[in-house]
Symmetry: C2
Subunit: 355 residues, 2 copies
């Protein structure tokens, strides 16, 4: 153990451990391995809120039947470069992967492709799917609707979710360009942190339970989030819901179910994946040169605060992953104990290691 | 004259007047009419910053040859549902129209289509082109790069533009869903207003000339804008530049030219237009019903401030246009005089009316 608060686990050990849990919960070996790798990869990027922290609820939902461990994803409508996939209530990670892979097939044929998805579940970090496209030399756009948690300015009740949106662009160098964000001003975790520290929060972060902007993180924690950029982020959240849930024939707004509050039910989550093949417009060498030129201009731009560095979207995740691959992934004692107990209860026989 | 400060001009009179100016500056009758209609329509929506206020600079650029009054827009690369259009340095309104029309043709064939555009110019409100798609029962996404005017947090120099982005969705009812925004936290006009009123501005609006956040609108006016939602809006601005200028083979970052600072030169502005045909996924009646359900939920959502109403994206523009069609479009005495003088100098023989 490296510290009382956070332990560090080797990423390969963690991946094998989580993969075994998913396989024992009914998933195929291949899908379990993909799901585990995607979660651990998310931790490697430093996005711990969407990494292995979620394993217990995913396993619980697989075991209860809320999530179908062996979904048969299938195209149910569409034509040309636009289709809708039925996710068969499978894990969002598996359905999301299948949908982006299909969007890339469509883009192979049509130069761009889009696949809407219905009957999926929580898919973790949207960046996973956008990066799948970038790994295949395409631009990927991935988005999902979530249960309403954002309140419109003046509104008393959430009208839309903080619907995550990720965009990845291949650079043909060390790391892809990746923008991966939710559409709330801040994530719930920031409210928790301010609450713990006893700090005030800015008025544009969150509201109390009645929708009134608040500076008190305690109140905010019982309230709702505010959209990033006010009406702009609110409008973008609507767009994500319309593309994912509305035009696909899926659910939108408050018809989506919370994976926490409705543990035994499919969440009916919807996604929308777009793949664009830039190599239909120029060859790889030219695209690589142009992205390098773009990056060069940003990276060499002067800082007034010279102690700071200008990071590119995806760069911090890349650097964090380099570090964590070497030093291990920090997880809390609580989570370590919870995962270990789950492994023992399920009898997977795979250990997180004696730390 | 209805007031000393703002006069009101009938929208049809204004359209005929502006159309004549453009035709006298060398544009074809049809293109001049489209350009004038789009500008006046922008005023009708209440977006006066992107309406006829810009006529003098557009006319100047047409007459100087910086903008080609009779562009022959043509597809220069691409395949399937993704193409790049060369705008022949024509007015952004004409090139943008041609590009979205082409994207819709591609979407007709492939269910979705995208057209990148190089060698265009300032295209006004991005909403114009997104709405063209919605008028044709498609979802339209329109974006453009602009000269860098946004500074990254900590940066001393703009690294990207506040690259406007608009998304329109057909509702098959009174008005389409339209989100039309730039990616800065606020528009420059808000700084001007605060300066006039002697008010402080929030620290997340703008910076001084060195990139340091400022509360002083005077300093901000000589400085740069900050992105909406911090790093999120910054990343989105990069994405717009990559899609519009980078993958198309056009210009990006500081290779774009300002239409004000480089009056005699083509600005080389690039756009990206996407059209998605939702009627390939469901019939019009179902789409109409689902959009109505979406709207109903938002509109009936409770407000904690009961004096306020929940507006849908595009609703305020719709209501403003109803009012302005009846009462006329407010323009300043200065602009009225400038336009009138321009008409007299060019000898169009069309009058703005004796107000």
């Amino acid at each position: 153990m490296m510290s009382e608060e956070k332990m560090r686990v080797n990423h390969k050990t963690l991946e094998a451990f989580v993969s075994a849990l998913f396989a024992y919960a009914g998933m195929s070996e291949a899908d379990a391995a993909f799901h585990a790798r995607a979660l651990v990869q998310t931790n490697l990027w430093g996005v711990d809120s969407h990494g292995v922290l979620r394993v217990p609820v995913y396993v619980e939902r697989l075991r209860s039947g809320a999530m179908n461990p062996r979904p048969e994803t299938r195209i149910i409508r569409g034509a040309g470069a636009l289709e809708v996939m039925h996710g068969d209530d499978g894990p969002g990670f598996i359905v999301g992967r299948d949908a982006m892979n299909r969007a890339m097939e469509l883009a192979e044929a049509h130069s761009l492709g889009a696949v809407g998805v219905i009957h999926s579940n929580h898919f973790g970090a949207a960046g996973i799917y956008a990066r799948l496209a970038a790994d295949g030399d395409m631009i990927g756009i991935a988005m999902t609707n979530v249960i309403p948690n954002i309140v419109a300015p003046g509104g008393g009740k959430p009208v839309t979710g903080n619907n995550p949106l990720a965009i990845a662009v291949p650079t043909f160098s060390e790391f892809p360009f990746v923008l991966d964000m939710s559409l709330s001003k801040v994530a719930g975790g920031k409210l928790l942190l301010a609450k713990k520290r006893g700090e005030k929060i800015p008025l544009d972060w969150a509201t109390d339970a009645e929708g009134r902007p608040t500076e008190d993180p305690e109140e905010a924690f019982d309230g709702f989030l505010l959209p990033m950029g006010g009406y702009k982020g609110l409008g973008l959240s609507y767009v994500v819901d319309i593309l994912s849930g509305l035009i696909t024939g899926g659910v939108f707004g408050d018809d989506i179910k919370s994976m926490y509050r409705h543990r035994d039910e499919p969440s009916l989550t919807c996604h929308f994946m777009i793949a664009i093949d830039p190599l239909k417009l120029m060859d790889k060498a030219e695209m690589e040169k142009r992205m390098a030129s773009f990056y060069e201009r940003v990276k060499t731009s002067p800082m007034w605060d010279e102690s700071k560095e200008m990071y590119l979207p995806g760069e911090i995740e890349y650097l964090t992953a380099l570090r964590r691959r070497e030093r291990g992934i920090p997880i809390s004692q609580n989570l370590y104990d919870e995962l270990t107990a789950l492994g023992e209860e399920m009898g997977t026989g795979v250990s997180l290691g004696d730390l």
